[in-house]
Every structure is written in structure tokens, then in C-alpha cells.
Amino acid sequence: MNQSPALIELQHVTRTFPGAGGGFTALADVSLAINRGEFAVVVGQSGSGKSTLLGLLAGIDRPTSGEVRVGDTAVHALSERAMSAWRGKAVGIVFQFFQLLPTLTAVENVMLPMDFCSTWPPAERRARALALLERLGVADQANKFPPKLSGGQQQRVAIARALANEPAVLLADEPTGNLDSKTAGAILELFAELVRGGQTVVMVTHESSAVQLASRTITLVDGRIVAEKGGSRA
């Protein structure tokens, strides 16, 4: 059993994408540990490896070398099938473009992860989804389809969906990148509130205001961690 206090642990992780001239290294020998309850913000220029890092944490990509652990799970070693099941329960993902399924209502979008992962009894799923929407302030939009919602409302629904299976970690990839500044501020405040409630959040962002709310800031340049503020380095 892993005795480490860190919830997320990366050990010498390298991710190289094949291509002409030997390929492109998006992450180079990155080691990192994030503790439970932290609000970690990953910043850096475009192409610095931020989204690659998030993809590895979410189990939607695999490292070329090195280890990725989330809780007791060695994510890098999971089979594709096991990875899907783990991902559905252990992490919640929030995308820049919301990625709500357009033919499902807001509440149905939130119920979907519970459906796929069978985490809650079928009879309780709707009530739970509505409770989450209530918590995120969009309960009144529950029966609307995503195209009928504003960007901010869509992102709130997406966050509710990410929380549906009570994941250990909430991963957000530029969650405010597609929102106006006022809405972006509200969404960031929402994340901060979730962290205050005990939720671990890792967010990739360009927003400087996010850095102010974060308990930990990790700066990437050319696939390497060049600076960290707060927290501890593995």
C-alpha cells in the first residue's frame, strides 16, 4: 500500500509524441506531488506541456516513461478498460469548451457519469444530479439542453457533471478560456469554494486571478517544471 501523503504523484514522467526528426517531447522528466485538498494551478505558455500533464493525470494519455499515481492507483499501468472505469470514478474532468452532450438536458448530462459507472442506485441519480446543479447555482436550468444555456451556465453544469461520481480529483483544462472575464471570475471562485469544501483541484489556466486563489502554482516551460509556489515538490 502506498504510504505517501500525496494524492497525486508523478515520478520522472516523460511524454514524447512521435513525429519527424525524432518526435516532440511535451513533458521531460517531470516529478510532482499534490496533496489532498490542494488547489493546484498549472501555468505556462502554449506548448509548455500543461494540457499533456493534465491528460496524464486524467488517464486519457499515457507517459512514454515514468509513473503516474493517483491515490493507490498506478494509472500508467492500467489497461484501457480498467482506465475507463477508474477515470469515471476517480477523476472529474472540466473542459475548456464544456463538452456537454448536446442531445441531453443539463440534468441528464450530470446523470451520465453515474450511469456509465453505476456509482449510484438508478433511482437516486436524478435527485443527486439536481442537488449538484443546485449547489452550482443552475438548478433552474436542469431541463434545458446545452445550446440553450449561456457559456457560464454550461460550465457550471460541466463542473456538476465532473463532480457526479464524487471524484478524488477535479481536473480542469482552461475552464475559463471560453468565458468572459466576469463569468470566468465566478467560475474560479466556484472552484475555490469546492477546494474549501475539501475537493482536490488541478487546473490548467492562463488566468492570473486563478493563481491568486490557488494553494499551489506550478509553472511549466518547454515540458519542465521551472517554478513552484506553495505545496511541496516530490
Binding site: G55, A58, I60, D61, E80, R81, S84, A85, R87, G88, K89, I93, F95, F97, Q99, L101, T103, L104, E108, N109, M111, L112, P113, D115, F116, C117, P122, R126, R161, N165
Partner: protein, 791 residues
């Protein structure tokens, strides 16, 4: 409560109504095509087998001097005999539709109690009363008679008698009257007497008790009957044993059904190709959503179940539409085919297994077709799915290099050509679907042309006369020819003889009776093509030319060998010198002189005539004058027949069969067109961003539309070209299958006719323009901003 994932599936299906409709339509067309054929096949199989066996078909027929009740009792007492009945068959002529036609009159003393080859009443009176007749239904169209008509009937020299048509009946054991050009009818012995024909029954029909016996075992039993008949002082003229339990046209029917079955399977396959393309199109639009669902924890199996579930449900919906249509179409075509073969499907339901197979195939075919794209789509990694922009170089190697070197290509045209080859697997599937449809279409057009050519060949080259006349009594050939030539309008006249014969087999048994036509050695009226050997030569005695069917039936007959043939009860030695492909039933030809030497009777009973008069009307008139003048000269014409009329009847029926195949091929082309439409829709969908880029750099509506239309035309023209060589084996298959039906349809031109190729080009271009219209329109609706933001 329905789970969210299934709600998504249902809403997606509803949201993409046009595509959903296309999938349902594609599956439905495939099921209708294949289902109609399966229904026809299963129904005909049941009707022809069960229907034929239900008549309790005759096991053997002996022709003797007379059959009375005492003889029947003795025959029934023989071991192995189930039943024995008496009948007489008389050849006469009936006047109908303005002409005298050959009439075959079947007489029995007890039609009502008959248990062998049961005749079923269809309408009017049954059994026939004295001085009336009941027409066999397959002769109705040919004779033009209906119930209530007074038909003038005559036998030989006897005066014509008006007999009332009192009913219509069906004898499933007969070859159809329209095909044989004969008016079949049923009369009583006393009606025969009124017509001046002998009223004594002379045919002994038997059935054997053990229906599992093969033809040779039945023949041995029939020989025991023959011995009994001969022991009573009677002579047996001939003995006929048909293949037990098998209809006279069973092999032709099998051949026809097999060909059509193959067409059905092909239609289903094409439909399957289309479903593969459509499901791939559906998944292409869902790649990002698949990635999102996977990111939310969906496993590949769960996603596959969702999309395969959609395919299954769409298959079921298609079945709901297709099954009743296939049943209607199948029933209609089975009814038509059955009537060609003198059967009736009334009272026979389509077998349940046939409907079950269609339902299973209809529901599972889309699942099977979707399996590959769904598996591929659901296995895509989350990162790849989320990165999907729908724009890439495709799955083939770059053909741009080759195309770039072709001079004179404009940039948009170059783009269309490259786009067409971008997804090679999909392009190949679309091309093959359309090309196969085209090949069947060209094959069916070729078959139709071949039927016309072959019927023309049969009536212009093989039978080089305009009309034939039958006489009820034999006459001297030279004087008969001279009398005919004296009639104005007669160009040439030839008198033909004929006798019935049977091969004396090495085991001492007699083969089935067959006709030998006695034709003048120097005849200019026939031109049967020889498969092998030669036609009989002048001055050579007892040379026989046989058709393929007779050669196959009698193993004692070999080309170049001698065979003992019983003619008029006398054994005679003949040399088989040639084999012709003509006629489906066993037939032989000999010189009139050789045939006349048998029994020393050189007289003949048939006259064939060529006319100097053009047109059916004047030739009908010539027949009337021939009958009149020859009767005045003492020649009793029993019937006369115009070749043009026989030709029309035969051609009409054969072309109806070819027409069915043409309709099926058109359905396949529709499937191919839907395939092209789906491919182009998919192409536009995948290139939304690319189209946006083109618009951003100045491409106008017409340029976008042209790119899509030209891309479709590239595939269509390639299909057009591919269909031409593919149609050659198709023509051979169809020609061979139809060659066994009714007449030897020679595929005279293996290569499709230039006009057929042009028609196919027109069809494929029209299909392409139509199929690309909607995708093209959709492409022009793509706005730059939306396309570049396309996720």
C-alpha cells in the same frame, strides 16, 4: 426510467432525421429486394412441390388399343400398383381469336372420381358435361376463350362442332398451354364421339403404391403392367415414366429461383455496404462525444452497445416497413412465376421461416455491418477523440503527386479528385456498391436484348417459316406441297412427317416416348444450330439428329453410335449423327424419307409455309385461304398456327421475367446512389473546417458545390467503368440460367450494347448529381466562422 445514455441514443437518432431515414431506407431496400426473392423462392418451392404432389401425379402412362373396366381391375390387382385409370387424348383444333388453333382434348369417363393427376376446377362447371368443354387455365390467354363462349372444335375430317366452354380447370402436371401453343381442354367420351373421334379410352395411367421408388423401379412396375396389357391381346404403343415427384419444369424452376436468389443476396450485401458507410458517417460526427463519454468513464463496450443498439433498432424499424412490402412483392412475383409454370399460389401462405429469416437478417445485418466501424470508433483513445478536428490527409497514400502531373487540371478539380481518393476504403465500398448495381443493370439489359435476339434467332433462323398447318389424316407429301404452292401468297411449302418413338434400352426396358420430326433432307425451313456432329445427309439412311435433352435422358444414345429405336412397335437401328441445342423437351429429327421407310408409310401430317405477304393480318388471311383451298382439294387441316403469334407470346412472357430482374437492378442502383449520398455527406461533414478555410480564402458557393459534385462524379464515373467488365460474367450467369428455361437464350453479345452503356452512363451521372445535391447544398451552407469553430 430510461438511462441517460439511451436517451442520448434516441435523441441523436431523432436529431439526425435525414441520416436516420437514409439508414432505414437502405436497410429496407435491401430487405425488400432480398425478402421478395426469398418469399418468392420459398412460396414457389412449396407451391410447386406440394401443389404438384397434391395432384397425385401419374407414375406411368401406357398407350394401348383400349382400356376397359375389366382391364383396370386386373391392373389394380398387380403388386405395387396403387391406382389405375383410363383416358384418351385427341388432337383437334379449336377456332378462337379468329384462327384455328391446335386443341388437345383429354377425355375420361370419370373426371369427378379421378385420383391420378387430379384436375382442380377454377370456375364454372366441373367435370365437363356432354357437348361442352372445360378449358385448362394456362390456355386461356392463348385461346382467348372465356366461360360461356361457344368454341368451334373439329377433329380430322369431321364437321366442326360448337361446344360451350362451361368451366376453367387447372392441371398442374401439364406444361403451360401458352408455352406449348395448345388449347388444352377436358371433354367426355361422348363429346369425342360427337366430334367424330374414337370414344374408346386408350391411355392407361397408373400410380405406384410406394412413392419413394426411383424412376427405374417405377419403369419395372410399368413393364409388369405392359406385360399384363399385352397378355390380354392388346398392343402397347408406348410407355412413359416421368421422374417421380418432379414437375416437368422442376429443373428450370430451380435454375430461375437460384438466379433470383443470388440477386437477392447481392441486394442485401449492397445494402450492408451502405449501412457500413452510414454508421461510419454517424460515428464520424460523434468522435468528440465518444471522447467526452470515455472521459466521463464510459467503457468501449458500453459505447459499442449504444451504437450497435441503434443499428439494431433501425434494422427493426426497417423490417417493419420492408417485411410487408417484401411479402406483397414476393407474393405478386411468386404468383406470376407460378402462373408461368401453371401453378396457383392461392391458399399457400408465405412460409413463416422466410419471414423469420428476413426479420433476423433485417435486425442483425445493420448490427453486423456496424460492428467494424463501431468497434473502430469506440476504440479510439480519449485524447485522439478530443483532438478530432475532422480534417486529415485520409487513409491512403498521397495520390496528389500523380494528379499534379496531369496537365490541364484546375485547382478545384484537382481538389475534387484528391478528395475522392482521400478515404480509399470508403471510396472503394461506395464504388463497388454502385458498380455492382450497374453490372446487374447492364446484365439485365443485356439479357433483355439477348432474349429478343434469341427469340428472333429461334423464329427466324431455326424455324424459317411463317406458319404451320396440321392435318388430321396423313397425306402424300409431294401432292400436299404442290396443292399449297398453288395458293396465292405462298412462297414455299414443305411437308413434314413425324412419328413417336422410344429407345430400346440394353436392360430390355423402353425409354420414354419422344417425337421424331421427319424433315426433307434439303429443307430450307429449319436451321437448328449443331452442338456437335452434323445434320443428316442426302442418300444416308437412318441418321438421327437428337437434341441435348434427349441425349441426356437416354444413356444408350451416343454421338456417332447406333441405337435401337422402337417406332410403331418395330425395332429399328439408327445412327446418331448430330446433336442440336433446341427445345427443352426430348426431341429428335430424321430425314422424311428415312422416317417414311419405317413401316413403308411416307405420308405426312404437317405442312410448313413461308409467305410472300408481310404482316400478321395478311398472314392470318393466308392461313384461312390455305385451309379453305386445301379442304376443297381434299386435305383436312386440323389446325394452323402463325409463327409471329407464337413468337409474341413467348417473347412477352420471357421479357416479363427479364423485367423483374431489371426492376431489382434499379433498386440496387438506388442503394448505390444512397451509398454515394452518404459518402458525400460524410465527406462534407468531415471537411467542415476545410470548407470553412476555403471560404475564408475566397471560395464561392458554386466553387464549393462544384468540388462536391465533381468528387461524386469521379466515383460515379469510376463505377460506370467498373460495371462494364463486371456485367460480362453477370450476362453469362443470367444467360445460362435462362437458357435452361423455355428456350436456349444465347447470350449473343457478351459485351453490353453501346446504347446500354450510354444509358448506364446517363443513369449513373443522374444518380451522382442527385446523390450529391444535398451534401453539396450543406457544404455551401457552412459559414466560415462556424466551420473554423467546428468542434
Amino acid at each position: 426510467m430510461l438511462k441517460p445514455r439511451w436517451r442520448k441514443v434516441l435523441r441523436d437518432v431523432w436529431h439526425h432525421k435525414a441520416r436516420t431515414l437514409l439508414v432505414v431506407l437502405a436497410i429496407a431496400i435491401g430487405i425488400v429486394g432480398a425478402g421478395a426473392v426469398l418469399n418468392t423462392w420459398s412460396l414457389l418451392r412449396r407451391v410447386t412441390r406440394d401443389g404438384y404432389l397434391a395432384t397425385n401425379p401419374v407414375s406411368a402412362t401406357l398407350r394401348t388399343d383400349s382400356v376397359d373396366a375389366a382391364l383396370l381391375t386386373r391392373v389394380r390387382a398387380l403388386p405395387g400398383i396403387e391406382a389405375a385409370e383410363a383416358r384418351r387424348t385427341v388432337i383437334g383444333s379449336a377456332f378462337s381469336n379468329g384462327a384455328w388453333r391446335t386443341a388437345v382434348l383429354f377425355a375420361s369417363g370419370d373426371f369427378a372420381g379421378s385420383q391420378i393427376g387430379k384436375v382442380v376446377s377454377e370456375s364454372g362447371t366441373w367435370p365437363p358435361a356432354d357437348s361442352s368443354l372445360v378449358i385448362e387455365r394456362s390456355s386461356l390467354e392463348f385461346s382467348g376463350l372465356i366461360v360461356g363462349d361457344a368454341a368451334s372444335v373439329r377433329v380430322g375430317n369431321a364437321p366442326e362442332v360448337a361446344l360451350t366452354v362451361e368451366g376453367i380447370a387447372r392441371d398442374a402436371g401439364l406444361a403451360p398451354g401458352w408455352m406449348e401453343h395448345v388449347v388444352y381442354s377436358f371433354v367426355t367420351p361422348s363429346t369425342l364421339a360427337r366430334l367424330g373421334a374414337p370414344a374408346t379410352l386408350n391411355q392407361l395411367r397408373i400410380t405406384v403404391a410406394d412413392r419413394s421408388l426411383d424412376r427405374e423401379a417405377v419403369r419395372r412396375i410399368a413393364y409388369a403392367v405392359k406385360a399384363l396389357v399385352e397378355s390380354s391381346g392388346r398392343s402397347v404403343v408406348d410407355l412413359e415414366v416421368p421422374e417421380p415427384g418432379e414437375h416437368i419444369h422442376a429443373s428450370q424452376m430451380d435454375s430461375l429461383l437460384m438466379t433470383q436468389g443470388a440477386f437477392g443476396v447481392l441486394a442485401l450485401l449492397l445494402s450492408g455496404f451502405l449501412v457500413i458507410n452510414l454508421i461510419a458517417a454517424m460515428l464520424a460526427g460523434q468522435v468528440r462525444e465518444i471522447g467526452v463519454m470515455k472521459a466521463l468513464g464510459a467503457r468501449a463496450g458500453q459505447l459499442a452497445a449504444m451504437y450497435l443498439g441503434v443499428a439494431f433498432v433501425l434494422g427493426l424499424v426497417a423490417c417493419l416497413i420492408a417485411l410487408p412490402l417484401a411479402a406483397l412483392l414476393g407474393r405478386w412475383y411468386a404468383g406470376f412465376s407460378a402462373s408461368l409454370l401453371n401453378f396457383d399460389i392461392t391458399g399457400f401462405p408465405i412460409p413463416l421461416w422466410s419471414l423469420g429469416v428476413q426479420l433476423a437478417v433485417g435486425a442483425l445485418l445493420p448490427v453486423a455491418a456496424a460492428a467494424v466501424p463501431v468497434t473502430r470508433g469506440c476504440r479510439i483513445s480519449v485524447s485522439t477523440a478530443l483532438r478530432d478536428f475532422g480534417i486529415d490527409g485520409g487513409d491512403g497514400s498521397d495520390s496528389g503527386g500523380v494528379l499534379s502531373r496531369v496537365s490541364g487540371l484546375t485547382r478545384p478539380l484537382l481538389l475534387s479528385l484528391r478528395n475522392a481518393f482521400r478515404r480509399r476504403q470508403r471510396m472503394a465500398l461506395t464504388l463497388l456498391t454502385l458498380a455492382l448495381g450497374g453490372a446487374v443493370y447492364l446484365g439485365a439489359l443485356n439479357l433483355r436484348a439477348s432474349i429478343r435476339n434469341s427469340v428472333g434467332y429461334l423464329f427466324e433462323e431455326m424455324l424459317r417459316y411463317d406458319m404451320s398447318l396440321q392435318f388430321s389424316a396423313p397425306h402424300d407429301p409431294d401432292s400436299l406441297e404442290a396443292a399449297a404452292r398453288a395458293v396465292s401468297g405462298v412462297e414455299r411449302a414443305e411437308a413434314w412427317g413425324g412419328k413417336r418413338a422410344a429407345v430400346a434400352r440394353p436392360d430390355g426396358l423402353l425409354g420414354n416416348a419422344f417425337p421424331i420430326g421427319g424433315i426433307p433432307v434439303a429443307s430450307k425451313m429449319v436451321g437448328f444450330p449443331l452442338d456437335s456432329g452434323r445434320w443428316f445427309a442426302p442418300g444416308m439412311a437412318n441418321e438421327l439428329v437428337v437434341n441435348r435433352s434427349l441425349l441426356d435422358a437416354e444413356s444408350a444414345m451416343t454421338l456417332g453410335g447406333t441405337v435401337t429405336v422402337i417406332i410403331g412397335g418395330k425395332p429399328t437401328e439408327w445412327t446418331v449423327v448430330g446433336v442440336v441445342a433446341s427445345m427443352p423437351s426430348p426431341t429428335a429429327f430424321a430425314s422424311r424419307e428415312s422416317l417414311g421407310r419405317i413401316g413403308g408409310d411416307f405420308r405426312v401430317g404437317q405442312l410448313v409455309v413461308t409467305s410472300t405477304l408481310p404482316g400478321a393480318g395478311s398472314q392470318s388471311e393466308l392461313i384461312r385461304r390455305l385451309r379453305q383451298d386445301l379442304a376443297a382439294a381434299g386435305y383436312d387441316v386440323s389446325s394452323g398456327q402463325l409463327v409471329a403469334e407464337s413468337r409474341r407470346v413467348l417473347e412477352d412472357h420471357l421479357l416479363m421475367v427479364a423485367g423483374f430482374l431489371l426492376v431489382m437492378s434499379q433498386a440496387m442502383i438506388v442503394v448505390g446512389g444512397l451509398g454515394l449520398a452518404s459518402t458525400m455527406s460524410l465527406s462534407v461533414l468531415e471537411r467542415t473546417r476545410e470548407i470553412g478555410v476555403m471560404r475564408a480564402i475566397g471560395a464561392r458557393h458554386w466553387a464549393i458545390l462544384t468540388i462536391v459534385q465533381v468528387e461524386g462524379l469521379v466515383i460515379a464515373i469510376a463505377s460506370w467503368a467498373l460495371a462494364i467488365p463486371l456485367s460480362i460474367p453477370m450476362s453469362v450467369i443470367l444467360g445460362n440460367a435462362f437458357g435452361r428455361i423455355m428456350i436456349p437464350v444465347k447470350v449473343l453479345t457478351l459485351f453490353p450494347e453501346p446504347m446500354a452503356i450510354l444509358i448506364w452512363l446517363g443513369v449513373v451521372v443522374a444518380v451522382s448529381l442527385l446523390a450529391c445535391a444535398w451534401p453539396g447544398y450543406r457544404a455551401t451552407r457552412v459559414t466560415t466562422a462556424a466551420a473554423l469553430a467546428y468542434e
